[in-house]
């Protein structure tokens, strides 16, 4: 079996950035495995702009952002195998993959970085009543048809869920001549970025119906309409508010799920809230030498942050391969429920660390507070508003938590 220092599973933004960072930290024996025919991942179909403001200080389209990283990969001659599907990863870091040219092959890696991204939650998970006609797509699938294949899946559209891809597709379908009748969001707030609500819905006069859901699907061959309804505070549909909207297309943007099927084959411990791996400040999973970053770890709002996180993983993997012992991980991070999760979930006392987190609901005038197990406040900061759709972060200085064993992330309402 061929041995190799570093294998990166997935050639999207996380994989490319991790590969570049590992290379720049001295790794020369590395390989990216990508199941698609190109590097770039989902960015290839995100032809709208808004990428790269943090990284490059300019507004790029998805393919342009991916192109920047592809160029960095090329300049370093980092090898990749395309059209190659990884079938299995063992805890001992044996990777089994397949492609048309080589058949099924195995690699023994010293280190692995998991960069498989995420997938959309499908209609089945919602158990919407009614028929099962053609015309129902996840927003990303519709995006692929329109932007990659050049076909319009529908003309009279209702969108369920106000995730960012749904918002982007509301605008995209409108520009292609479709009529988007409504975006229904089950929650009383949108899960998408504020700028997308403004630029993709408001600018086009598309109504956002908060606390609404689709309760029934109609049509035998192709979709002919949906029944929507307002929901009460327990998210139960209110029968008197049922409203029929004729349409030929229903797009779903109801959540993204980190794609961790391979992580499971490697017995990587997963966080029940993020659905991604449990990692330390280096983005190392509980298996030494296996790292995770990007949307496979937790779903990000902006690709810029994916790239940043992947650099951490790439550098750490390089240090691991070089035999440098990683900083001991002594501190566990917890949350109060209002803060839903943190990434990383475990940290060392030896370094400053930026902790990313998401909240469970929209909260106004709150204080983000980090306390240790003795009740000492390590960090405290007032926020006017926090929302589940916007990832938050705090920088913790190592001297502030030197004696701690546990840190709790909480929101206090002022």
């Amino acid at each position: 079996m061929k041995t190799i220092d570093l294998v990166i599973i997935g050639g999207g933004p996380a994989g490319m950035s991790a590969a570049v960072a590992a290379y720049d930290a001295g790794v020369r024996d590395l390989l990216i495995l990508e199941r698609d025919a190109h590097l770039g991942g989902i960015l290839q179909q995100c032809i709208h702009n808004g990428f790269g403001l943090h990284r490059f200080g300019e507004e790029l389209t998805g393919p342009e952002y991916a192109g920047r990283y592809e160029k960095m990969v090329e300049e370093r001659n980092i090898p990749s195998l395309l059209n190659t599907m990884v079938l299995d990863i063992t805890p001992d870091k044996v990777i089994t993959a397949t492609n048309a040219e080589r058949g099924v092959f195995q690699l023994q890696a010293k280190a692995i970085i998991l960069c498989m991204g995420c997938r959309e939650r499908a209609k089945g998970a919602l158990n919407i009543a009614g028929t099962r006609p053609a015309g129902i797509y996840s927003a990303g699938t519709a995006q692929k048809y329109v932007n990659m294949k050049g076909y319009l899946p529908g003309k009279e559209v209702v969108i369920l869920g106000s995730g960012d891809i749904g918002l982007i597709m509301a605008r995209r379908m409108t520009l292609e001549g479709a009529k988007v009748h409504a975006v229904c969001e089950l929650m009383p707030y949108s899960g998408g970025l504020a700028r997308n609500i403004e630029q993709c819905l408001h600018d086009f006069g598309i109504p956002l119906k908060l606390s609404h859901t689709v309760v029934e699907i109609h049509g035998r061959e192709r979709l002919t309409g949906v029944t929507i309804a307002k929901v009460d505070e327990h998210r139960r549909p209110i029968p008197e508010t049922r409203e029929y909207i004729p349409c030929d297309t229903l797009l779903l943007s109801v959540g993204l799920i980190p794609e961790n099927e391979l992580s499971k084959t490697a017995s990587v411990a997963l966080d029940r809230v993020t659905n991604g791996a449990v990692v330390d400040q280096d983005r190392q999973t509980e298996i030494p030498g296996i790292y995770a970053c990007g949307n496979v770890l937790h779903v990000h709002d902006l690709v810029d942050f994916v790239s940043e996180e992947a650099e951490i993983a790439g550098k750490s993997a390089a240090a691991y391969i070089a035999g440098k012992s990683a900083a001991a991980v002594e501190i566990a991070l917890h949350t109060d429920g209002k803060v839903r999760y943190t990434v990383p979930q475990r940290i060392t006392r030896q370094k400053d660390v930026t902790v990313f987190f998401r909240v469970a609901d929209v909260y106004r005038n709150v204080t983000v507070k980090v306390t240790d197990e003795k009740g000492n406040v390590i960090y405290s900061r007032k926020k006017i508003k926090v929302a589940p759709g916007e990832m938050e972060s705090v920088l913790l200085k190592s001297d502030t938590f030197a004696g701690a064993r546990d840190l709790c992330f909480a929101l206090e309402e002022n």
């Binding site: 199941r35 059209n83 599907m85 079938l87 089994t96 397949t98 492609n99 048309a100 040219e101 080589r102 058949g103 099924v104 997938r119 959309e120 499908a122 209609k123 089945g124 998970a125 919602l126 158990n127 009543a129 009614g130 028929t131 099962r132 006609p133 053609a134 797509y137 996840s138 990303g140 699938t141 692929k144 048809y145 329109v146 990659m148 294949k149 050049g150 076909y151 319009l152 899946p153 529908g154 003309k155 292609e176 001549g177 309760v215 029934e216 699907i217 035998r220 061959e221 192709r222 549909p237 030929d248 099927e261």
Partner: protein, 477 residues
């Protein structure tokens, strides 16, 4: 003129076609749908029942026990997955226990082998996730599971390999007696056949009416199901039934041959024979019923929900008869129809012979249909051998179920051929995983368009007007 025209390409019509294909007969299968196995066969509990449910002496009892005995061999010949996982009817309290004892005695009378009554302890030793409140059970080790549409594809395919013809989108609208047989109008075209087998499911009463037989009616009974992720597919290993009531066998929880967990069905008499919509109430009943039997089912792990329409006959039993020369009804094939299908085919052959059908054996009849081997189930050596022969087997198209381009192309080229996304899905499992085709369907549309020689935007989900895309985008026009 055909010797036999079979109306309906469900599991019953398919098994009959396969049984008749052994003989020197010109056979045609007339199917109104865009594919075979789209009616009750597409959406049922996928169970091979042991045979203790039907009353002693009924056709249902006789054909269920016989069919169940034949099923393993039929599946072996046809390369279809079959799993003898056994079934348990669980009871809560004394009343259920008395009912289970009745079923036990009935099963013995019907000829079901190895039945046993279990107490709570024995039950939970077999199935630790069955509700702790369950007090007793009837264990039927001969119970099994099979995929009903996989069986139908294989049966129709094997019949076609042995010379039978399949005509899709050929709804029968008129039947006229002619000299030596019948003239059938199917899909607007005339078809002549000496014998007709009416296996038209919920429409079999309408077909019988066309030859003046109004001796029975068939109505649809809606059954809603929820299919769950493989992640929880091993929660139980047996098929778990509730103690039955008048309306059926209640909500069951069962593994499928593909490793998912199936829950359902509801049972609701309907009028519309085409209304396959699920309801919020029905899906809620499925979740409640399944949760009462088995603990730990997370419905957040739902892959899909669907509805099947069972063809319930007006007599309470299967209606298999020969009301006039050259015409055989196979109607009211509700549960245990799938289990009985191989035996029904045998029984129909017998009726046709008695009605004068000449059944000389074919010299070159081949009962074997090789399995369409799933890449995900191969060893590494087998995978490499198949990729070496055809590199398309090295390209994984469906990520969730690990289905390769090679398998999809083979399915598109193998009789009975699929013509749409659902047809590919049911033959290969591509699009059947947790992302439900989110990633792979645009590629499969491409493969279908190429293989069928049609434009990309003409590819449908399930025939008719079920178009996946409507037109080219502005820039691509």
């Amino acid at each position: 003129m055909f010797d036999v025209a079979i109306i309906g390409a469900g599991v019953v019509g398919g098994m009959i076609a396969r049984t008749l294909a052994r003989y020197q007969l010109k056979i045609v299968i007339l199917e109104k749908g865009h594919d075979v196995a789209t009616g009750a066969t597409a959406a049922n509990s996928a169970i091979v029942h042991a045979g203790f449910d039907a009353k002693e002496g009924t056709l249902k009892a006789k054909l269920n026990v016989r069919g169940s005995e034949m099923m393993a061999e039929v599946c072996r010949e046809l390369g279809v997955k079959y799993k003898n996982n056994g079934s348990l009817v669980i009871g809560f309290g004394e009343e259920d226990k008395a009912h289970l004892e009745t079923l036990y005695r009935r099963g013995i009378a019907n000829g079901v082998r190895n039945l046993e009554l279990l107490n709570a302890e024995e039950l939970h030793a077999l199935e630790p996730n069955v509700s702790a409140d369950a007090t007793c059970a009837l264990h039927a080790p001969t119970g099994a599971i099979v995929c009903p549409y996989e069986l139908t594809f294989a049966a129709v395919g094997n019949a076609m390999d042995n010379g039978a013809e399949l005509l899709l989108e050929s709804e029968v609208t008129a039947i006229q007696p002619i000299e030596g047989g019948y003239k059938i109008t199917a899909g607007g075209k005339p078809i002549e056949a000496k014998y007709i087998v009416n296996a038209a499911g919920v429409y079999s009463d309408a077909i019988a009416n066309m030859v003046g037989d109004a001796s029975f009616t068939v109505h649809p009974r809606r059954g809603e199901y929820i299919l769950l992720d493989k992640e929880i597919g091993a929660l139980v290993s047996h098929t778990i039934f509730r103690t039955p009531t008048k309306m059926g066998k209640g909500i069951l929880v069962s593994p499928t041959v593909d490793g998912n967990l199936l829950t359902g069905p509801t049972s609701e008499d309907m009028e519309d024979k085409d209304d396959k919509s699920t309801t919020p109430e029905g899906l809620a009943r499925v979740m409640k019923g399944a949760g009462e039997s088995v603990t730990g089912i997370r419905f957040g792990a739902s892959i899909t929900s669907f509805c099947g329409l069972r063809a319930v006959g007006s007599t309470g039993d299967f209606i298999i008869n020969n009301p006039r020369h050259g015409f055989v009804n196979v109607a009211g094939i509700e549960s245990p129809g799938l289990s009985s299908a191989p035996a029904i085919a045998e029984y129909v052959l017998d009726l046709l012979r008695k009605d004068g059908l000449n059944t000389a054996e074919k010299a070159n009849y081949n009962p074997i249909r090789p399995a369409l081997h799933a890449f995900r189930e191969m060893s590494m050596e087998e995978k490499n051998a198949v990729i070496a022969k055809d590199p398309a087997y090295g390209r994984v198209i469906c990520r969730c179920e690990t289905v390769t381009e090679g398998e999809i192309l083979t399915a598109i080229r193998t009789e009975p051929k699929p013509h749409d996304l659902d047809g590919v899905k049911r033959r290969t499992r591509a699009q059947m995983g947790r992302c439900q085709g989110g990633f792979c369907s645009p590629y499969i549309v491409e493969l279908l368009a190429r293989e069928l020689g049609i434009p990309y935007e003409k590819v449908t989900k399930s025939g008719g007007n079920s178009l996946v895309n409507l037109e080219k985008t502005k820039g691509a026009r």
